[in-house]
C-alpha cells in the first residue's frame, strides 16, 4: 500500500480549513484512515483468500456554545465530497446538547512506537507463517489434532489527524491476527480449542512454539476428569486470566464510576481494592504493543496510567486531569465512530518469578489453560461464573487433567485473593487488547 503520509496530512488539514469556514464553528478536527486487509481462511478442503481496502474520513465541528457534530464518509472525498460531510456535521451539531466541549489540542511531536512491520504486507511471509503454524499443530497433535479452521488477517493501516489548533500527525501500523480452531479426537471423545494470536511484527511470532502449544492445549481435555465441589487454589495462565479484565474493564472507566455503574465508585479511590500482589496498568505507549497509540483519537498525547498499584486504586480510564481536561485516552474504533474514552493495552503488571517456580511453591493447584466467561452479576456485586479446563499440579508436577469445570467467585474476593503474579506477561485481543501474566489466587469455588 502506498503511503497515505503527505496526501493524508494534506487532506485532513484542508478539511479542517473548510470546516472553520462554516458558521458558528470555533474549532474542528479531521481524521482520515486507510487500511488494506488480506484474509486467509483455511479449513478441511477449503481455502479462501480475500482482500479489502477501506478508507474513510471524519470531521468534527465545535461550536461556541459547546455543541459538537461528528460526520463521516467512506473514500477520500471523490465519491462523497467533503462539503457534503460538513453539511451533515453542521446539522448533527444542532442535535447535541450545549455544554462545555474540550477543544482540540495544538501541535506537539508524537513518539515513534515501532508499530509498523512491512512484512505483514507481504503475502509470501504470511503464507510461510501459516504453513509453519499448520505443520507445528499437526506434528504436536500426534494424529489426534486436526485444524477445524485457521483464519489469518494481515492488516496495514495508515491514519492522519489534524486539528484547528495546529496538531497534525500521521501514523502507520500493521497487525497480523490468527484465529485458530482445533479439534482433538481420541476414540469417541472430542474436544475443541480456540485461540487468537495478534502481533504487530511477524518476527515476534514464534509459529512453531505457538502451534505446538495450541495443539497441546487442544489435547489436554482428552481423558480428563472433573473436580469435586469445594474451594480450590487456582493458577490462571495468561490468556485465561484476561477473562477477569474482560469483566473488570467496564468498571475501570471514569464515567461509569461517576454514574454508579462500577465496582470502583468514587469513594474507593485511594483505598485497597486488591491484594498487594496486584498492579493494573493501561499503557498506550508500549513499543510494538497491539493496542498502542502514539496519539489518541483527539490528537492528545497518550500516557501510561497505573490504575491499581500494589492493591490500591489510584486512577480510572478516561479520568480528567486537575485542569478538567481529557488525558489522552480517546479511541476511534473506525472513521465511522466518534472518539470515546477507553483502555488501550489494559494489563495486570508482571511479577518477579517464573510461573513454574510459583506453582512449585503452592502445593495443590488447578492450572487453568482454557476458560470462558459464562455468567456475571452486576459490575459492583461482581459475581463471575467460568467454564474452565486444565490440569492438576502437585508442587508444580502434573497429576491429572480436568475439563469443563464450572468455577464461581466474586470479583472483589478474587482480587483480594491473588497470591502471586508471574513474570510471563502476554497480550491478547478480546475485543479490546488485554494482557496478563499467570495469576495464582484463592477465592474461587466449584458448585
Amino acid at each position: 500500500m502506498k503511503d497515505v503520509g503527505v496526501a493524508g496530512a494534506q487532506f485532513v488539514s484542508s478539511a479542517v480549513r473548510s470546516a472553520l469556514s462554516r458558521p458558528r464553528t470555533v474549532a474542528a478536527d479531521a481524521y482520515y484512515k486507510k487500511s488494506l486487509y488480506r484474509r486467509w481462511r483455511i479449513s478441511a478442503g477449503d481455502r479462501v483468500r480475500s482482500q479489502a481496502q477501506e478508507s474513510g474520513f471524519a470531521i468534527r465541528l465545535f461550536r461556541g456554545d459547546g455543541r459538537v457534530g461528528h460526520a463521516f464518509a467512506s473514500g477520500s472525498g471523490a465519491s462523497i465530497p467533503v462539503d457534503t460531510v460538513l453539511d451533515a456535521a453542521s446539522y448533527v451539531a444542532e442535535r447535541c446538547t450545549p455544554g462545555v466541549a474540550s477543544l482540540p489540542p495544538g501541535q506537539w511531536e508524537p513518539p515513534d512506537l515501532d508499530l509498523f512491520d512491512p512484512a505483514v504486507d507481504q503475502v509470501p511471509a504470511m503464507d510461510g507463517l501459516l504453513l509453519r503454524l499448520e505443520t507445528a499443530i499437526l506434528e504436536e497433535g500426534g494424529g489426534e489434532v486436526t485444524l477445524e479452521s485457521m483464519v489469518a488477517v494481515a492488516g496495514i493501516s495508515q491514519f492522519a489527524l489534524a486539528t484547528s489548533a495546529g496538531f497534525s500527525a500521521e501514523c502507520k501500523t500493521s497487525l497480523a491476527t490468527f484465529f485458530l480452531h482445533l479439534r482433538a479426537r481420541r476414540g469417541s471423545e472430542v474436544s475443541f480449542h480456540r485461540e487468537v494470536i495478534a502481533v504487530r511484527h511477524l518476527s515476534t511470532l514464534d509459529a512453531d512454539r505457538v502451534g505446538r502449544r495450541a495443539a497441546r492445549r487442544a489435547r489436554l481435555p482428552l481423558g480428563a476428569g472433573s473436580l469435586q465441589a469445594g474451594s480450590m487454589r487456582i493458577a490462571f495462565e495468561p490468556q485465561t486470566a484476561c477473562v477477569f479484565l474482560e469483566h473488570l474493564a467496564p468498571s475501570l472507566e471514569a464515567s461509569a464510576a461517576r454514574r454508579g455503574g462500577s465496582a470502583f465508585p468514587p469513594g474507593k479511590m485511594g483505598g485497597r481494592v486488591a491484594s498487594s500482589a496486584v498492579g493494573l496498568v493501561d499503557d498506550p505507549c508500549l513499543r510494538r504493543g497491539i493496542g498502542s497509540l502514539p496519539f489518541d483519537g483527539e490528537g492528545r498525547p497518550t500516557r501510561r496510567s497505573m490504575l491499581i498499584d500494589q492493591g490500591i486504586l489510584g486512577s480510572l480510564v478516561g479520568a480528567r486531569n486537575d485542569s478538567k481536561e481529557p488525558v489522552g485516552a480517546a479511541l476511534r474504533r473506525s472513521f465511522t465512530d466518534p472518539p470515546r474514552p477507553g483502555p488501550s493495552n489494559l494489563h495486570f503488571a508482571r511479577g518477579e518469578r517464573s510461573p513454574a517456580n510459583i506453582v512449585a511453591d503452592y502445593g495443590s493447584v488447578f492450572r487453568v489453560t482454557a476458560a470462558t466467561l459464562l455468567g456475571r452479576g452486576g459490575p459492583a456485586s461482581g459475581e463471575i461464573v467460568l467454564s474452565a479446563s486444565g490440569e492438576l499440579l502437585e508442587s508444580g508436577e502434573p497429576v491429572g487433567q480436568v475439563r469443563d469445570v464450572t468455577l464461581v467467585g466474586r470479583m472483589d474476593e478474587l482480587l483480594a485473593g491473588v497470591l502471586e503474579v508471574g513474570n510471563d506477561l502476554q497480550f491478547h485481543l478480546r475485543g479490546t487488547v488485554l494482557g496478563s501474566p499467570t495469576l495464582v489466587l484463592d477465592g474461587m469455588w466449584i458448585p
Partner: protein, 464 residues
C-alpha cells in the same frame, strides 16, 4: 437515497473478472448511519455519515475471491476485475487516474442525516431516561444509545440480471444502573423497528425506559441461582435465542457442508419434539431481518426448517447450495460490501402450539422461568451450548418466586430440542433489535417464539 449505475460498465467488469470461468457478481452498497448517546440528560456524540462501496466476487468450487473498492469508478472496478482474474495482490490505483475516471457508481447522498436524526430526537431520548429513573428510586443512572441506518444495495450477476433492495433499521439501547448500599446492578432493554420515522410512534418512550429501570432493580433484588437438573420454562419474551443458537446456526449451509453441524445428512429425519415447527422468513413485512432479495441477488423466500419435529431444509447461499446440490434458499447475507456473503438466518420463527402459557407454569412444580437469555457459546459439531441467563425467576409450586442471578444453562442442542414437552399458544415476535454475529460479520435479525418448556436442563448457578 438512490444508486446510479451504468449497466454497461458493470457488464464489462464482470466479463473481465470471469471471461469464461466461474460465477461472478458485483455488489454495490450505499449506507447512511446516524447515532447519538444520551447520558445525564445530555445528548452527546451525535454522529452521522455515509459509506459507498462495491465488491467484485468470483466463486469457484472450493475457492472464492473478493476485491472491494471504496470509490467505485470505472478504473478501480476494472482493476478489481483484473486482479480477481489474475489472482494478484490488491494494490492501490493511482488517485489521479481515479479522479479523472469518467464513469462512476454514484449515490445521491441527499440529506440522509435529516431522516435519521430528527429534531425531536433529544426530547424523545430524555423521555426514555425519565421513564427509567421513575421506575424506582434506586435507579441512579441511565444511558440511552440511539442508532439508525438506511441501506441500499444492488447486485449485478451478468446477462442483465440486476437486483435491488432498500433496507433500514433503528435501535434503541437503554442501560439503567440501580444501586442499593454497596450493590449495583444494570438492566438492559433493546428495542427497534425497521423505519426510524416509526420508532417513537410505535413505542412508548417512558415504557421503554421503565423496563430497563425495572430490570436493574429486579437484578438488585435477585438471589443466587441453585445448580442442578430441572425443568426450564422459556417465556415468549425470550425471543427464540435458544433456537437461534442451537438450531438455526447448525442448519446454515457452511456448517453443514463442513460436517460441523449435528444435522448434516438429517433432512427428513426427526430432530425435535413433534410439537416443534420452525421457519426462517425474510419476507415478513417490516421486520429487522426482512429483505426482498438477499445479498447475492436471490429472491427472499419463507423456508420451513422443522415441521412437526422433522428436519425439512437447511439455510443456504449460492456457494453452499451448489456444493450441497440444492437450490439456494436466499439466505446469502453480508455485513457490508467489504465482506463475503455467508448463509445466515433472517427472521427465525418458532411457531405457537395449543398450550395455555399460564398452565405451563402451573404444571411446573419446581424449576427455572427464563425471561431473557444473554451471551451464548455453541460448539460444533456436537452442538454443545452454554447460555448466560440475563433475567430469570425460580418456579416453586407452579408459581414465580424470587428472581435469580448468575444462572447458566448448559447442554446439547439436539438433546434439548427433543426434550421440549410444552409449547404455548402465545407466539410473540420479539420487539427487540436482534443482531447476529458470525465470522466478525454482524447482521440484523428478528426472532419470535411462544412460551415453551424443556422437561429437564442442566442449570449451573452461583448458590453455595
Amino acid at each position: 437515497m438512490s444508486l446510479n449505475v451504468d449497466r454497461d460498465l458493470l457488464g464489462r467488469v464482470l466479463q473481465r473478472a470471469s471471461p469464461d470461468g466461474p460465477y461472478a457478481e458485483i455488489f454495490v452498497e450505499h449506507r447512511a448511519r446516524a447515532s447519538a448517546v444520551l447520558v445525564e440528560g445530555q445528548v452527546r456524540e451525535p454522529s452521522c455519515g455515509v459509506t459507498l462501496g462495491a465488491a467484485v466476487r468470483t466463486v469457484a468450487p472450493l475457492s472464492s475471491q473478493l476485491v472491494h473498492v471504496d470509490e467505485p469508478d470505472e478504473e478501480s472496478l476494472l482493476q478489481a476485475a483484473d486482479r480477481l482474474r489474475l489472482q494478484e495482490a490488491l494494490e492501490e490505483s493511482p488517485a489521479s487516474a481515479r479522479r479523472q475516471a469518467r464513469r462512476r457508481v454514484e449515490a445521491e447522498v441527499g440529506r440522509a442525516h435529516e431522516d435519521l436524526l430528527r429534531p425531536g430526537l433529544s426530547a424523545a431520548l430524555a423521555e426514555v431516561e425519565r421513564g427509567a429513573l421513575d421506575a424506582d428510586p434506586r435507579v441512579v443512572a441511565v444511558e440511552v444509545e440511539y442508532v439508525a441506518w438506511r441501506q441500499e444495495i444492488l447486485v449485478f450477476r451478468g446477462a442483465g440480471t440486476l437486483s435491488e433492495d432498500t433496507r433500514s433499521g433503528v435501535r434503541l439501547r437503554v442501560r439503567a444502573t440501580a444501586r442499593s448500599g454497596l450493590s449495583a446492578e444494570q438492566g438492559l432493554t433493546v428495542v427497534g423497528c425497521p423505519d426510524p420515522a416509526d420508532l417513537f410512534s410505535r413505542l412508548s418512550t417512558r415504557e421503554v425506559g421503565r423496563r430497563a429501570g425495572e430490570s436493574a432493580v429486579t437484578r438488585l433484588d435477585s438471589q443466587p441461582c441453585p445448580s442442578g437438573a430441572m425443568p426450564v420454562v422459556f417465556a415468549n419474551r425470550c425471543g427464540a435465542t435458544l433456537f437461534h443458537e442451537a438450531l438455526g446456526h447448525p442448519l446454515e449451509g457452511d456448517f453443514v457442508l463442513r460436517g460441523e453441524s449435528p444435522y448434516s445428512g438429517a433432512i427428513g429425519e426427526s430432530i425435535a419434539s413433534p410439537i416443534i415447527h420452525v421457519v426462517d422468513d425474510p419476507t415478513l413485512v417490516g421486520r429487522r431481518g426482512s429483505y426482498q432479495v438477499d445479498d447475492e441477488g436471490t429472491a427472499a423466500q419463507r423456508t420451513v426448517l422443522v415441521e412437526g419435529g422433522v428436519l425439512r431444509s437447511f439455510l443456504t447461499d449460492r456457494g453452499t447450495s451448489q456444493a450441497l446440490g440444492l437450490e439456494s434458499t436466499g439466505n446469502g447475507r453480508r455485513a457490508s460490501y467489504r465482506e463475503i456473503p455467508l448463509p445466515r438466518m433472517s427472521n427465525l420463527i418458532v411457531e405457537g402450539w395449543k398450550d395455555d402459557p399460564e398452565e405451563i407454569l402451573r404444571s411446573t412444580r419446581q424449576g427455572l422461568y427464563v425471561v431473557e437469555l444473554g451471551a451464548a457459546r455453541v460448539s460444533f459439531p456436537g452442538g454443545d451450548f452454554v447460555f448466560e441467563v440475563a433475567e430469570a425467576y425460580r418456579i416453586l409450586d407452579g408459581r414465580l418466586d424470587h428472581p435469580v442471578e448468575g444462572a447458566v444453562l448448559v447442554g446439547r442442542g439436539p438433546d434439548v430440542l427433543r426434550r421440549i414437552d410444552r409449547v404455548g399458544s402465545d407466539f410473540l415476535l420479539h420487539p427487540g433489535a436482534g443482531q447476529c454475529d458470525k465470522e466478525s460479520q454482524r447482521v440484523p435479525v428478528s426472532l419470535g417464539q411462544p412460551t415453551l418448556r424443556v422437561s429437564s436442563m442442566d442449570v449451573r448457578g452461583t448458590a453455595r
